[in-house]
């Protein structure tokens, strides 16, 4: 039972990592939003599974909030934002797709090396997912720094938030509920603030490419 549980957790975590890598590969904001939605659903399902098998009933509540907030509400908001600001499908990045993907692979390797001592210490059945969660964290950071459009960077930030939640779930079976709720609220507030910023950037510069922010208002 524990073996299958551990495998399912690693599988779900790998799925989340894959959705992160899809952002490095695909072009176009709708694909990114779809990837983020999948990632949130996977995270929610996995949180519920860890809650069931780890005997932590409070994780059910976390899973439901995750599903409602990150699986349904935030993707809808993102889609609305994209509809309002969408200019062209082809997205710009500082690093080309091939290099991004290879860098993504290297980051996963780095995460594995980094978490090795931690893996040796812990005896949790979910420990195999730790390097995957850490890898997702690095990949989302890479998405934030390597993309030119502000909306893609916002998606990178949300994925970063997802990876931290994943790390909390597989590393410690979830942090106390109060802290979790605080984090959700922070993420939501952060997203709303960024939404306002996106709107302002678009108003001022008529583009969402952060390259353009270097020059002064025309």
């Amino acid at each position: 039972m524990e073996g299958i549980f551990a495998r399912l957790v690693v599988l779900a975590a790998s799925g989340m990592l894959l959705t992160g890598l899809i952002v490095l590969w695909r072009k176009g904001v709708p694909a990114y939003i779809a990837a983020f939605t999948w990632q949130s659903w996977l995270l929610s399902g996995m949180t519920a599974a860890v809650g069931y098998l780890g005997g932590e009933p409070q994780l059910y509540l976390v899973a439901v909030i995750l599903l409602l907030l990150k699986g349904i509400a935030l993707p809808a908001l993102l889609r609305a934002t994209d509809r309002r600001f969408s200019t062209r499908r082809e997205l710009l990045a500082y690093v080309n797709t091939e290099t991004s993907l290879i860098v993504g692979g290297m980051l996963v390797l780095f995460a594995y090396v980094l978490t090795e001592p931690w893996m040796a210490m812990t005896k949790l059945p979910t420990r195999a997912a730790l390097p995957v969660a850490m890898a997702l964290l690095f990949v989302s950071l890479f998405i934030i720094v390597s993309r030119k459009k502000a909306i893609t960077q916002v998606i990178g930030f949300l994925m970063l938030e997802n990876s931290i939640a994943l790390l909390a779930v597989v590393g410690t079976y979830g942090v106390p509920l109060l802290v979790e709720l605080g984090v959700f609220l922070d993420a939501l507030m952060g997203f709303l603030v960024m939404q306002i910023f996106l709107y302002d950037i678009h108003e001022t510069f008529e583009t969402l490419e952060v390259d353009q922010l270097a020059r002064l208002k025309h």
């Binding site: 073996g3 299958i4 551990a6 495998r7 399912l8 690693v10 599988l11 790998s14 990592l17 894959l18 890598l21 590969w25 797709t97 091939e98 993907l101 290879i102 993504g104 692979g105 996963v108 390797l109 594995y112 195999a128 997912a129 390097p131 995957v132």
Partner: protein
């Protein structure tokens, strides 16, 4: 002795069924595109027609041009005898190595590229250059997805990998299998010149890869090459099917087991044929400069598959 004849029968079965698979995919594709399409067995008539035609060879062609079709067909047949299709050979399995199978197929590709250059036609050279570009990008992925399977099974032997997965069904749910399968599938499409990378049904000079290489061939030589590439495609798909999802494959030579193994192989290949046909109907051919993106994505998948074997340990 019984096993030897079974291996020979299995090889012949693969050689005979391979064009049928390609024909089936063409037929499903035609149906999906609301055309009537030629029946799946049409391709056998085409091969027979080609075998009856005369051979026209350019005056500038050397012995390589004549040898290449035989080498390509020969290596494919040898690989067909290594891959577990209907049953898992035990005594004859010493040579059934994943590396041997993949690199024998590559040897055929290599000679085909040489033959494309041999006649000195512009198309042949262009096709060879493109094919080598694609193969150079797919090779690391093939090696890595093999490593991922070999690391989980503890052996590069094809039969052993299939047997291990049969003994521990949970392994097929492990990330090594889940990530390795799409990687190998993309590479199989690339190596056999299927749609997102190369379009097998057109001779458009700007985009063709495989067709450009074999443009100078005619008659029986062309038939051999077409047959060999169908066989290669069949084998790559069978390899993906039987290594990642080995259920149903016969582990003994009992007639009932063999029958079940044959049925399982047919079902698996039919599912893959439908998948390929749907994929080829839905996607357009990638621009040549976009191909490396897809192939590096499959490379990263394979890399993750290898690394996941380290995570799970």
């Amino acid at each position: 002795m019984a096993e030897l004849s079974a291996v020979v029968a299995q090889t012949l079965l693969a050689v005979m069924l391979a064009p049928g698979l390609v024909g089936l995919i063409r037929w499903i594709k035609a149906r999906l595109q609301s055309r009537r399409g030629a029946p799946p067995w049409q391709i056998y008539f085409e091969l027979r027609k080609l075998f009856a035609k005369e051979i026209v060879i350019s005056r500038t062609a050397s012995w390589l041009f004549r040898a290449a079709p035989l080498i390509v067909f020969g290596t494919s047949v040898v690989v067909a005898s290594l891959v577990p299709l209907v049953f898992i050979p035990v005594a004859f399995d010493r040579t059934g190595d994943l590396f041997a199978a993949v690199y024998l197929l590559l040897l055929g590709t290599f000679f085909l590229a040489l033959a494309g250059l041999d006649t000195g036609s512009a198309f042949g050279g262009m096709g060879s250059s493109r094919e080598m570009t694609v193969v150079a990008l797919t090779e690391p992925t093939v090696a890595l997805s093999i490593f991922a399977l070999a690391l989980t099974a503890g052996s590069t032997n094809l039969g052993v990998i299939a047997t291990r997965t049969l003994a521990d069904p949970g392994m097929a749910l492990g990330p090594a299998h889940v990530l390795g399968f799409p990687a190998l599938f993309i590479v199989a499409l690339a190596e056999s010149g299927r749609l997102p990378i190369d379009n097998p049904s057109t001779h458009l000079e700007l985009t063709m890869i495989h067709e450009a290489m074999v443009l100078e061939y005619s008659g029986p030589y062309l038939a051999l090459i077409e047959w060999a590439s169908a066989l290669k495609f069949f084998l790559l798909l069978a390899l993906a099917a039987n290594l990642f999802v080995p259920w149903g494959i016969a582990q003994s030579l009992a007639p009932l087991d063999l029958l079940a193994g044959f049925a399982a192989l047919t079902v698996k290949m039919a599912i893959l044929a439908v998948a390929v046909a749907v994929l080829e109907t839905r996607v357009a051919k990638l621009r040549l400069f976009r191909v490396p993106e897809l192939l590096s994505a499959s490379f990263v998948l394979a890399l993750l598959a290898v690394m996941s074997t380290m995570f799970v340990r």
